[in-house]
Amino acid sequence: MLHINLADQYRRGTSLIHRLDPRTKILAVLLFIVTATILPAGAWLPYGLLLAGALLAAQASGLGVGFALKRSFVALPFALAAITLPFTVPGQPLAHLSSLTITVEGSLRFLSILIKSWLSVQVAILLAVTTQFHELLWGMRELRLPKPLVSIVSFMYRYLFVFADEALRLLRARAARSGQGEGKSGGGLLWRGRVAGGMVGNLTLRAFERSERIYEAMVARGFQGEIKTLISPPLTDMDRNVLVGWVTYLAMLLLVGFLF
């Protein structure tokens, strides 16, 4: 069998973080990101404390401090969306780049955004590697995210692999018949484009047909327009304690950030 393992980031484990309820983890990560977002620019001490929190969580997950840290740099290019800030925010000039002026305030804002997004990505990575995807979905559903949204993500995740496998088979079938003959091989650009376009169309049609069959399979088992799930158990004491501790820590950070 062909298999593509596209996006399974989950790492098995039995650590405290692994054992936490998915709802707790999702909430904690969201609160962390919100806190990082509303902290004022240049609040270095709270940033440091946030980093400490993220590293502590990484340590508690048993994956080690470096794990999320290393992977978090993938998000840095996205922060470049804020690259214009040093030039556009008015304030004290720091340097001149031909006709552009870099301001102190602007640089501070840019640096803060960079750090905040880097911190946020770290906890998000930690969430993804310590929680199985179906647990994440379950947690999102329990936290009252819109049901259609959760269902879409759920189906996407389930069939992403199936389609990746299908695409892989198509590519292999093309490769297997791409032999070299006497004449010029490979064909023209237009011809190759047509072949590739045909493959995309083929895959789309298959997706469409599959969606019909899946719907039939759902209807056959009594689906009437709404996905039902089991009622979930309440949060354990451990989860409550962790959440309370986490919220207190974030609240103190905010206090420090705004008062000092």
Partner: protein, 235 residues
Amino acid sequence: MHHTLEVKDLHFAYPDGRTALRGATLSVAPGDKVALVGPNGAGKSTLMLHLNGILQGHGEVRVCSLPVCKENLGKIRAAVGLVFQEPDDQLFSPTVFDDVAFGPLHMGLPESVVRERVAEALTAVGMADYAGRVSHHLSVGEKKRIAIATVLSMNPEILVLDEPSAGLDPRARRGLINLLRDLPQTMLVSTHDIRMVAELFPRTAVMDGGRVVADGPTLAILGDAALLSAHGLEA
């Protein structure tokens, strides 16, 4: 007399104009184990989709004496466990547990019963340890077994299986045949696997051109070389 399935003179054409059923007639009594054979395009899968009310053609379809109509659909879908050919279509939930629980949950059963049903169904197909697994990571044989569990959990009166042994290696096929032999439910199974038919099903119905063209004891049907060759089958 009570019949589990009664189909009389059923006609159906797909929206694109292709006629799939031209007067199909078939009845299945409680406890029957019936094989449905015939060439591709004979209308086997189309007929099966009618037994659950997913397609509705012209003619009469009764399930457990209930006519297939909108008011009865809920009861009919609980009574007919329809398993599709492609297990990736049947298993659409994040985990095996969610998939097996889907049917009972949508029947409105209480949670404790749902959990019991899931455990029973998975045990019945020999997959009790798989509840927490993700369907994508299973082999085809495992997926087929779990696909059967997804309808067993609804406690159906009849199992309707579309090509259950297609695409299985000999060992997985053998496992599936043993499983089907052990299941007590009434069965209607479409297949190209004539050796499995001979082994498992006392009765065989042959479909071709949208009709049931022969129906009788498997031995007699498989012994009729003229009939088989007329409909593109080989014993």
